[in-house]
Symmetry: C2
């Protein structure tokens, strides 16, 4: 580890340059955003609100972040990283018990996203209008899909899973289902599955879609 600043792998969307004291200010903006997002949607939060919450003026805000969106992307980055941690481990014990292995894979996302409702809600709100947000989300989906495809193929090869449409196609549909269902549940949409049942239902569909043979 180098002695210099704790190498923040954070993308260049944070502060303009520098690395002096105002570090806390940057933090303050982030935590303010997180707090406000629990209360109301992104569209009802202005740069002024963020600045005020961090105890600075609006122009000063722009010293730390180039826009409101950038703040959010930083938050999302963080969350995604957390979610990715659990992903690896889950994919071990497949041969033993597919159902609970798949369940585990889902669970890490469930937990990471579930603990930051404001942020995912905002992310969903941002995606349509912000290309960077779209790209970031695409990446997440893509790794998820890639993982699932590989496993589906492996399960088919060893004869555990039923043959059928290309693994990737199946994976895309299932991952999209997860995304939508979890978003709906966490943002309190109607209709949505309850927090207690989402995981079970989703895993059920996954397992049936992957292992069950197509009827007729």
């Amino acid at each position: 580890m180098s002695t210099s600043v704790p190498t923040r792998e954070a993308p260049a969307r944070g502060r303009r340059s520098t690395r002096a004291s105002g570090d806390e200010r940057e933090r303050a903006i982030l935590t303010t955003a997180e707090k406000l997002l629990e209360e109301r949607p992104l569209s009802e939060i202005s740069v002024e609100d963020l600045a005020k919450g961090a105890g600075i003026s609006r122009p000063s805000f722009y010293f730390y972040f180039p826009s409101k969106d950038a703040v959010l992307l930083t938050l999302v980055d963080r969350m995604v990283e957390e979610a990715a941690v659990g992903r690896e481990e889950a994919l071990a014990g497949l041969a033993d018990d597919p159902r609970s292995a798949w369940r585990q894979g889902l669970q890490s996302y469930f937990e990471a996203f579930g603990s930051r409702r404001g942020v995912i809600r905002a992310a969903a709100e941002l995606r349509p209008t912000n290309a960077e947000a779209r790209g970031l989300w695409t990446q997440v989906m893509e790794t998820w899909i890639a993982d699932a495809s590989v496993i589906i193929e492996a399960e088919r090869a060893r004869g555990a899973a039923a043959p059928g449409r290309p693994a990737r196609e199946l994976a895309i549909a299932l991952v999209q289902m997860n995304e939508r269902a979890l978003f709906a549940t966490f943002s309190g949409e109607e209709p949505a599955l309850s927090e207690e049942t989402v995981l079970d239902v989703l895993v059920d569909v996954w397992v049936r879609a992957i292992y069950g043979a197509a009827a007729d």
Copy 2:
């Protein structure tokens, strides 16, 4: 089943009152919106653009619609109504051939939404910020889910479908999958299923999830 179509009284979101000549103007606004939405997202279309496209001034626009959102909701209303038409018929020949019956049910949505990409994209963009849009979409989902639940239960009762989690839960997850997958495909997101395969893949998951027993 009851087929209670969401009573279609023209929503009060059109013109302030009246119903005189300026009818064409209202139309012009609607078609302008539809046209512009094929080119660029809702967030990049201003009331000014809409007004200009319809050959009137911005204030005049407000004589016809209370806001930009209202224009869109009208468009969505229309589209949803079209989509609902095919729904009824599809649900007949289930006993004969479940797969193609389910496929047919999906197809009407596929076609209705696929022919108005701009509008669905805008609808997705609007949903997070506009309560009315959310409510409208909720209704659509709800009828879809209700239908699916009833059928799943019927199929289980007659022994065709496998038992499992409550039909409604299954229906919610599957309908959400459809929604997300179709949106992704039609708005050219990445990753997404191709237009040629979406329907097949979705139907495949539906059939396996409903008729296939849970493996493990």
